[in-house]
């Protein structure tokens, strides 16, 4: 990195080294890219992460096991249910806690709603980065209803802190099921409308198709996950491949990129994967809302989870399919009431790795499309 910044630039051509970010609206948060350009064409873009590092993993070693839960919200605040779930799962695995069925359904409902909300932000900001402002407002409008639903469920709109070690914090409020079903009916119509509004807009397609193509094997090599990996045509979804919770009971498809308007793995494929995934999430929520009625009400948290939880020495790993790819928690306990080590693997961080390899030859404006299509969220990169 040092060398790159200090390299001499030949003044006879148009080569420049620029800082793109860290306070640039289209870098999706505080990320810096050191961009080497020759006129409009990129020679290379190197992400320089670390501006939002808050030592969350270290905090996990100093708060108790229960006390770390609100901090996990801050790992990915656009989709805070997923780190909640991952962290709860890793502690449960280590302690051998059996989570009640109803809590698992509630987890599935809350995380899938959260996935829809997160993808709405993602595709909304993506269209805005490309230059269409209206679809973002439409996305945010639908997300508002989800926020209201989740607020009624757990009391917060962004940093939910809803999952607990051994279950969840609250049962469904009264009338929530009907409200959610009504919203999902509306939402399925919205998805069709959204496709008409922007997804199949000719200008939008032309702008994204064949841009920043990531072939499948390359995506695997660089450790991409989630919609970024599936956009490259690799059918890998942790909910299907290594099912956790109650996911084996649901019927849903995993959308993969097929190169709808260009090559497989271009920006448009990643975009369309997200829009299709929202429809699948809506299906899952419907099924979960039906199945949850068989589970006894009020049975939402495992009994006898000590308040000052002491975990026997050992280590465990949990993997959940977050909105931004695989989110893994690795926990090492040493028998006290504090974790010895908490490690988080996030999808955005690995997505940053591929930018340097993909960027040569892109236009400067296509870098914005690439970052937007990878759906990176700055706090998740740095933690």
């Amino acid at each position: 990195m040092e060398k790159l910044i200090l390299r001499r630039v030949d003044r006879n051509n148009e080569e420049m080294i620029l800082n793109f970010g860290p306070q640039h609206p289209s870098t999706h948060g505080v990320i810096n890219f050191i961009v080497e350009t020759d006129g409009e064409v990129l020679r290379k873009a190197v992400p320089d992460v670390g501006y939002l590092h808050r030592s969350i993993e270290k905090i996990g070693e100093s708060t108790g096991y229960h006390g770390f839960m609100p901090y996990t919200d801050r790992i990915d605040y656009v989709a805070a249910m997923f780190p909640n779930e991952g962290y709860a799962m890793v502690v449960e695995r280590l302690c051998g806690i059996q989570v009640p069925k109803r809590a698992l359904y509630l987890r599935a409902i809350s995380t899938e709603l959260c996935r829809i909300a997160s993808h709405l932000v993602s595709i909304g900001t993506m269209t805005m980065d490309i230059g269409a402002f209206t679809p973002m407002i439409h996305g945010i409008r639908e997300r508002e209803t989800i926020n209201d639903l989740i607020e009624a469920l757990c009391g917060a709109r962004l940093t939910y802190n809803y999952h607990r070690i051994g279950g969840v914090a609250f049962d469904l409020p009264e009338g929530w099921r009907d409200k959610t079903l009504a919203f999902l009916d509306h939402f399925d119509k919205f998805l069709v409308e959204f496709d008409r509004l922007i997804s199949f807009n000719e200008i939008y397609i032309k702008r994204l198709a064949n841009v920043a193509v990531i072939p499948g094997p390359m995506a695997v090599d660089y450790g991409l996950s989630g919609p970024n990996l599936r956009g490259s045509g690799v059918d890998f979804d942790l909910r299907k491949a290594m099912p956790y919770g109650v996911y084996p009971e649901f019927e849903f498809d995993v959308p993969v990129g097929k190169g709808m308007f260009g090559q497989v793995g271009d920006c448009f494929d990643r975009y369309i994967c997200r829009t299709r995934e929202m429809g699948e999430s809506s299906k899952i929520v419907r099924q979960a809302l039906d199945l949850i009625q068989q589970a006894p009400e009020g049975d939402i948290v495992a009994p006898k989870v000590a308040r000052n939880l002491k975990v026997e020495a050992g280590e465990a790993l949990s993997r959940v399919e977050s909105a931004r790819g695989e989110m893994a928690f690795y926990l090492v306990a040493d028998g006290t009431n504090r974790a010895w080590r908490v490690r988080t693997r996030t999808g955005s961080f690995t997505a940053m790795g591929i930018i340097e390899a993909i960027s040569p030859g892109l236009m400067v404006a296509d870098l914005v499309a690439l970052i937007a299509s990878l759906d990176v969220v700055a706090p998740e990169i740095d933690r």
Binding site: T63, G64, H66, G67, F68, M69, P70, Y71, T134, R141, E144, E151, A152, L153, C154, G155, A156, T159, N161, A169, F170, P173, E193, R196, L197, I198, F200, N201, E202, I203, Y204, K206, R307, N308
Partner: protein, 214 residues
């Protein structure tokens, strides 16, 4: 290479895309607007429109607080401070002489509410707490001059009568309004940043003396 038909075709597709997009935009002229003008055009005060589980400012009903400090232990960032002392007049009675909640530091996670045995500490639906002095957001539910005695839970009691949720915290917010003087008994202000000390004049170099002139 793009043929002429493809070139003309993309014009046509673009025009159709425009029509689709703009027809949706136009249809919004006839839909109900989603936006609400905060704060004065809402049908009810916003706090009354929030769901009951909303996690706003914390409120402690001192009449039913047992002084068990469970909330203090549950808080991951230590923004609750409780001090218990024996009543000098009645050695069997314990008093809560300090019960501070730093709402400016609180992250409204709700972990302190869960272990409370009587439901004394609760989230309210109050959230409008902008103040000029951030120290006004330290809510002191007890003070050393007027400590409150701890509540003894009756055997088998399941219901604990509580002041209407939100009334106590609203009174506090009212008292610590925008420019009110900071609450009494606050911990001392952090010391002002030290002024850089003026470098002392360097000691004059010893003048060489000529032993012969003595």
């Amino acid at each position: 290479m793009m043929t002429f038909t493809e070139y003309a075709g993309s014009f046509q597709k673009t025009a159709v895309s425009f029509w689709h997009g703009l027809s949706i935009t136009m249809s919004h002229l006839f839909r109900r607007p989603m936006t609400v003008q905060y704060p004065d055009r809402t049908p009810l005060p916003v706090r009354d429109m929030l769901p009951p589980r909303y996690r706003g400012f914390l409120e402690v009903d001192t009449a039913i607080c047992t002084g068990c400090q469970a909330c203090e232990r549950a808080c991951p960032i230590a923004c609750i401070q409780i001090t218990l002392e024996k009543d000098p007049a009645n050695p069997k009675q314990r008093l809560v002489t300090q019960f501070d909640i730093d709402e400016a530091k609180c992250m409204f996670c709700g972990l302190c509410v869960e272990p409370c045995p009587t439901g004394s500490i609760q989230h309210t639906r109050e959230f409008e707490g902008s103040v000029a002095n951030i120290r006004n957001l330290v809510f002191r539910w007890s003070d050393p001059v007027k400590p409150f005695p701890v509540y003894r839970v009756e055997k088998g009691a399941e219901y604990f009568a509580r002041a209407p949720l939100g009334s106590l915290v609203r009174a506090r917010l009212e008292a610590a309004r925008w420019n009110a003087a900071a609450v009494e008994y606050l911990p001392p202000e952090p010391p002002a940043p030290a002024v850089a000390p003026v470098p002392a004049a360097a000691p004059a170099p010893p003048t060489p003396t000529n032993p012969e002139t003595k």
